[in-house]
Amino acid sequence: MDSTIVLFLVQDAIINGAIYALVAVALLLVFAVTRIILVPQGEFVAFAALTLAALHAGRAPPTVWLLVALGVLTFVSVAWRQRRFFDARTLAVAALANLALPIALALLAQAMAPLKLGLASEILLTIALVTPMGPMIYRLAFEPLAEASVLVLLIAAFGVHFSLTGLGLAFFGPEGVSTPALIQGSFMIGALVVTGQSLAVVLATVALLAALGWFFRATLFGKALRACASNRLGARLVGVSTSMAGRIAFGVAALIGAISGVLVGAISTIYYDSGFLIGLKGFVAAIIAGLSSYAGAGVAAIAVGLVESFSSFWASAYKEALVFAAIIPVLVWRSLVVGHIEEDEE
């Protein structure tokens, strides 16, 4: 193994690590605000890549039907929960967000797809189609469980992941896709070939993380989310709706997922179920960071990328086994560091 290979593997690790970092940041955000470990985060990634591929091929993506279906389900469940304390305004807002918006987006996508307006508009439309799924999933699956334990929420998150994967297969079919690179071509840095896409991934990740930092520091919504993360009851007492915070967190997570999907589609072939492994690797990074530190998760994500690329070079058959086994020593270390055990009570 010479230095070129090492550099190549490191480059690979950084690109993949950047994607995992995005997933990890979304997971941390959602966990902090809602205590939900968002297993389905990977689905947003896969669905975005599949949507972009369809749009780029000039077809209306099946995503529109998935979005409309989720919207209808969400509206029905919100209406059902309101059967005893009917509130016209909430219902009207829910109709707007879960019926009118998806249908409008669906019509837009149907109209735009055959025109092939170029990559930029396709990416924007992809993000617009995937992002609303986040708040819908929160309302549909998690809002009624807001007071449940972390364990119950985790099991529910797996249920959502299960359903979404099945829906992904039903709507997108089993074929894999790849999407065009954001920056075409490649260039040399020393002896290393750097593709435009790797540059795009790293730049986009850094830009997105900076934007998130700004969002949390400077905007009211961002501050409200931080308030919920630090103390749910306290946040409610000062008028922050935890349900609203949950929806925003899921929206931001879906947005990050959509952008990750746009980025990852040009690196590897994406299938309807590819999101699971991408999500889980982000997840490993988030766990290594103790489910609390964003910067730590970024570093850990690169570390996961390194383990992955080097083990695929040395023992490619055991690549996945090694990545996930890498979490065990981390847990050993944490179990030694964490002296006192805090648990969920009944």
């Binding site: 334990s149 972390v150 249920g159 359903s163 089993p174 058959a317 055991y318 086994a321 648990e343 009944e346």
Partner: protein
């Protein structure tokens, strides 16, 4: 259990085992029930882990894989018979669980399930890539189970093997839960502090439960390997792990028969959906996951305790074993009144910059009631927690019966003969008062999990329950013994906690605001009980806000303010102390 009921159960079990030979049961359903039985074993482990122990695992399918691959490799490569590989398969699975569990069970709530996902996936890829295990193709040509020369190859014959195993697993699990260890396991759900305050080793119990669940999964894997007579990595992935969890949640994650209901529900539903859904969608695929995921979420939203409690109602009261020759547990010899029992020297505890307890020291003698009082935030509860080891000392020493301790843990405190109650009541609301109280005697029993499973613990169990009954009667709650603890009034729950503490047979009783929420008559009864205990030589340390109660009862009082001891002495002395008046009333009077 009455003889009639037991006989009815045996007849029912035999009828089930004979069903496939009756000719009425279609072959299709026989095979389906073979699978249901195997899944039930795995789901049973998860019910214990999730609903009873408050942990969970998404990786049980990997343990099924351990059982299956171990037996497959040993029968193929070394020519062992399946019966010879059975103990080895269970042992390998148990050891794997022990190693993984030792790493993960000490971690808080969500790290364990997260860990199980990670290693569940790791093992899945390992199974699929090890040439010795046939990689993605797996291993085939496994020998069938044989009884004598007769091979159990027909699903009908295999049915008997599967359901005999299920029956044994249910009996063992029920026996385990209905025992001293079982009570401690059920208490784990409330958090480690409660369990350890009565001497139960929380981490060890969690590990025990984790290994037991894994061994059940390994047993299912062993059966599966010799039913299919082939193994491949497919059925041992995380997707299957989640399906097993769905079974446990659907059936009812706190009740063992929920495992059977859940396994049957999911298996039959999958079977039906796999026929139906591809027709609806137009091409083939695992579309049943859509429905499974939705069911999982819906059950958690609408019936978080699962379907079994809806069908079967509340759990039956525990079996009441008859006491054997020995009628009661051995009790401690109480020290003579006035003998030094506990000395606290210069206790110090900081929380960040705040010194919550600063250089506090006092002594407590046998047969004495000492009250710890002070305004809110004075450090009473922290002092209490330092003495019981619930919080760690920054410095200072605790001398208990001549033994000096620089560190204290809840378990050590319980072993020393110190029993406590909690400021915020810590009872298992769905467990009966009797079982809650009997847990207090955890350290007075010796029977372990294996003895409990085969019911060699009955004599000891009878004595523990009799002792629990005695203490419940003593605190005046005899008529409530079989009610769920959660159905009592708050004041009564505090009294239940005292009964639980008494079952530990303590030298020293630590009571955290025992009179809060009691009516006047109940307070009088409580005071009478405490005087009674004092007469027998027990010492009582009391944190209490009710001044009338304290003044009339305590022999001596220690007053804390802002973490510092400001006064100590007999009630009258303390009452007249100007510093105490200042602390309570704000200024010198």
């Amino acid at each position: 259990m009455s003889v009639l009921r037991r006989n009815a159960q045996i007849v029912f079990a035999l009828a089930v085992l004979a069903a496939p030979f009756s000719g009425v049961m279609p072959a299709y359903w026989i095979t389906l029930f073979d699978y249901i039985g195997m899944s039930t074993l795995v789901a049973l482990g998860l019910v214990l882990l999730t609903g009873v122990g408050g942990m969970t695992s998404f990786g049980q399918a990997a343990f099924v894989g351990f059982g299956a691959y171990t037996s497959a490799a040993l029968t193929l490569d070394y020519g062992l018979s399946p019966w010879e590989t059975l103990p080895i398969s269970l042992l390998v699975t148990g050891l794997a669980a022990l190693l993984i569990g030792a790493v993960t069970v000490r971690l808080s709530g969500h790290y364990l399930p997260l860990g199980t996902i990670a290693w569940g996936i790791a093992f899945f890829y390992l199974f699929g890539n090890m040439p010795g295990l046939g990689a993605h193709d797996g291993l085939s040509g496994l020998p069938p189970l044989k009884v004598g020369a007769y091979a159990l190859t027909d699903p009908r014959d295999f049915f008997v093997a599967v359901w005999v195993a299920v029956t044994f697993a249910f009996v063992a699990s029920r026996n385990l839960l209905d025992s001293r260890i079982g009570r401690a396991i059920r208490v784990l759900r409330r958090g480690s502090t409660l369990a350890e305050s009565f001497g139960a080793a929380a981490a060890k119990l969690k590990l025990l439960l984790f290994v037991y669940a894994a061994v059940l999964a390994g047993l299912a894997g062993w059966l599966y390997a010799h039913f299919q007579r082939a193994v491949s990595p497919g059925p041992f992935g995380v997707v299957n792990g989640v399906e097993y969890l769905l079974m446990a949640v659907l059936g009812g994650s706190g009740r063992i028969f929920g495992a059977l209901l859940g396994a049957a529900g999911v298996t039959v539903l999958r079977d039906q959906l796999q026929d139906l859904l591809p027709h609806l969608v137009g091409h083939t695929g695992n579309y049943e996951t859509i429905v499974f995921g939705a069911i999982l979420v819906l059950i958690l939203q609408t019936a978080p305790r699962g379907l079994w409690p809806l069908i079967a109602g509340p759990p039956p009261p525990p079996a009441r074993p008859a006491p054997d020759g020995k009628t009661s547990l051995p009790t401690r010899e109480m020290p003579a009144a006035g003998e030094p029992l506990l000395e606290a020297h210069a206790l110090l505890r900081r929380f960040g910059g705040l010194v919550a307890v600063n250089d506090v020291g006092f002594a407590l003698r046998a047969g004495e009631i000492l009250a710890l009082i002070g305004p809110n935030g004075a450090g009473k509860s922290t002092t209490f927690n330092l003495l019981t080891g619930a919080q760690t000392l920054n410095s200072g020493t605790i001398v208990f019966r001549g033994q000096e301790h620089r560190t204290m843990t809840p378990q050590l405190s319980a072993r020393n003969g110190v029993a406590r109650t909690f400021q915020h009541v810590q009872l298992l609301s769905d467990m009966s008062v009797l079982e809650n109280v009997a847990f207090g005697g955890h350290l007075r029993g010796r029977a372990g999990a294996l003895r409990a499973m085969i019911r060699l613990d009955r004599g000891e169990e009878a004595m523990l329950l009799a002792e629990a009954h005695k203490q419940i009667e003593r605190v005046g709650l005899g008529e409530h013994a079989h009610k769920p603890a959660g159905s009592l009034a708050l004041g009564q729950m505090r009294i239940v906690e005292i009964a639980r503490a008494l079952v530990l047979d303590p030298y020293l009783l630590l009571l955290d605001e025992p009179a809060a929420g009691l009516r006047v008559a109940e307070k009088k009864a409580l005071a009478g009980l405490l005087r009674d205990l004092r007469r027998q030589g027990m010492a009582v340390l009391l944190v209490e806000h009710d001044m009338d109660f304290v003044m009339s009862l305590a022999d001596r009082i220690v007053v804390l303010d802002f973490g510092v001891k400001i006064s100590e002495g007999e009630p009258q002395v303390v009452r007249d102390d100007p510093r105490v008046r200042e602390a309570y009333l704000g200024e010198a009077v």
